[in-house]
Subunit: 198 residues, 4 copies
């Protein structure tokens, strides 16, 4: 039966095992959500993923990079680019707030932001692979909205991004909830919405 699924252990060979890669990412994600970063050890990930420790060390330099991989993949799915309108910016921030507080992948971001305080290498990776690109996208979004005459913020764009993102992240970090009302209030106060949209 040439086309049948090979019985038992059937992958492996000379090339990277995609199944193992995914098993590691999912195991890391699950363990983080279930037991927190503190007990998230390489050994536990390996056990949970049914993968050898060495397979993890072969492909990832640290558990932080595993989490970054999951963050980058998950955030790409869950955080689509916003439209350059006042509503678009508001929805973009609402989605980010929900991501941080309700999505497992948001827990990953908070954990990495935390770990970055303890470890410069984590800080560098996090900036390069997530924070930097995201900030650039936010800046672009705002610039486009300004160009379109949708918003007229009084603050410098570089400050504005942090004035919007900072409170949301800070609330998430301190365990407070981040409601749509809160996001809307920030948007209303900082964006200088023009025209018909209140």
């Amino acid at each position: 039966m040439p086309a049948a699924t090979p019985p038992g252990r059937a992958r492996s060979g000379n090339r990277r095992d995609e199944a193992a890669r995914l098993a590691v990412l999912h195991a890391a994600d699950d363990l983080l959500v279930e037991h927190g970063f503190g007990t998230l050890t390489i050994e536990a990930i390996a056990r949970r993923a049914g993968v050898a420790k060495q397979t993890i060390y072969r492909w990832w330099p640290s558990k932080v990079e595993i989490l970054l991989d999951t963050l980058v993949e998950d955030s790409a799915k869950r955080l689509p680019a916003g439209k350059p309108t006042a509503d678009g910016v508001r929805d973009h921030l609402r989605a980010f707030a929900r991501f941080l507080t309700a999505d497992p992948a948001g827990r990953v971001l908070l954990a990495l932001l935390a770990q970055a305080q303890h470890d410069p290498a984590t800080a560098a990776s996090l900036h390069e692979r997530f924070l930097g690109p995201r900030r650039q996208r936010d800046l672009d979004l705002i610039a486009h909205a300004v160009d379109a005459g949708e918003i007229a913020p009084r603050l410098d764009p570089d400050v504005l991004v942090d004035a919007l993102t900072g409170p949301i992240v800070y609330r998430a970090l301190t365990g407070a909830d981040v409601t749509d009302d809160l996001v809307d209030a920030l948007v209303a106060d900082l964006l200088g919405v023009t025209g018909r949209r209140r």
Copy 2:
């Protein structure tokens, strides 16, 4: 010579050794600043402080509580209450920004905020001993300034506190600098300064 200082090891006895307590706090602080939270172990603190491990375990339930002790003591010295004027609020935030980015004790706060993401017990302690009291003092300060007619914010006080604190903390967390200009811009945009000021 019966009254002479005994050579070598000389105190100890029935009461808590204040010198040991201070040695532990300073050792923890120093090690955090020098090598980061990652390598901050109880054993390293004990070594650096010249104290037995058990002496630490007798008085502190975890290294987090050691850091909280240093944070509470240091922040009381470095973060005096602000005056309920527009300038007072501005200075208060400027001092907080400087504390976070330039003061060793600020590094402790960032480390604890980070650790709180990994460990609920840290989160609880940090709220109870630092974040809660500080937020209350911020709310009081703002309320007094509003009562005095110094400021007229459009945002709800509870949101306002995070709108001011959040960006500062977020910048510190991401390693960006927090200039007086940035603080001033936030203050100007969010506080609705009245009267002679601006």
Copy 3:
């Protein structure tokens, strides 16, 4: 009851735990006999002894030194000094042959002699702690027997010791048995027994 055995866990403190020391020695001995040197790992010894790995590393630099400890202690019990007579030398060698082939501690000696081929450090330790002293005792025994006129070997003492020990060890190493008859034949041929004997 002041003389009673302390209840529960009663050892430890800042002094070495004799129970742990013995547990390690016995575990090593047992595992060697049961499964051989190849599977004798520090981890297995720790598991079997119910002891932490670090406790082993604290006191022994390698598994070889553990075995040497058991060898030295056991051989002292099982290999009493012989009397400086022709019969004494014969009994001494018979006991050694039995030790090598039938006694678990003899297995330890063969394993160490083997390991010494693979590792110079083992060779050095084995000489210092066992082979050297034993050779000296053999030389003394022979010298006394010669002085007493009990034996009159034609070979130089230094050669004689190896001429007697070598065949016994070699037979043990190659898995052959070492009978009393074989020992007696060697003794008869090499010792030049004098006087009333034979």
Copy 4:
């Protein structure tokens, strides 16, 4: 140019590669002499021989068998059969002593004899491929010399072989030197040389 030596990697095909076989044997031999048995790993042999690990596993069941191959090939070259005279036996033993102490292949024999203590499979292979045949040749040599009236040993041939071989091997195992004088003394004392010699 079809007949030219292909550049770079060039042989292979569907027959066993003799060059690879020799490379493995030499690599094993070299590594044993250079770094000892302890660091002699399959991976190291493969690296040194410039051969894939699997190529080794395909042809040899263990590193012991690799060494046995080198031992059998080398000892055939370096240990010619002795002549059935008193001098022949003496020269035979002198050559064996030199083989053990000075020849790399002798180191291989000692290593295998050692490994045989740790592993019954090694013991079996070593007996079958080296020790057994060699013992038989020794017995034959002695029997012929006795028949020829060259020697008249008092010991049983089976004991005699070990009485001659044992001390030499034992000295080699314990790192002592094995001089011609020592061999000659043993021969003189055990062989009962007759006739014109001595």
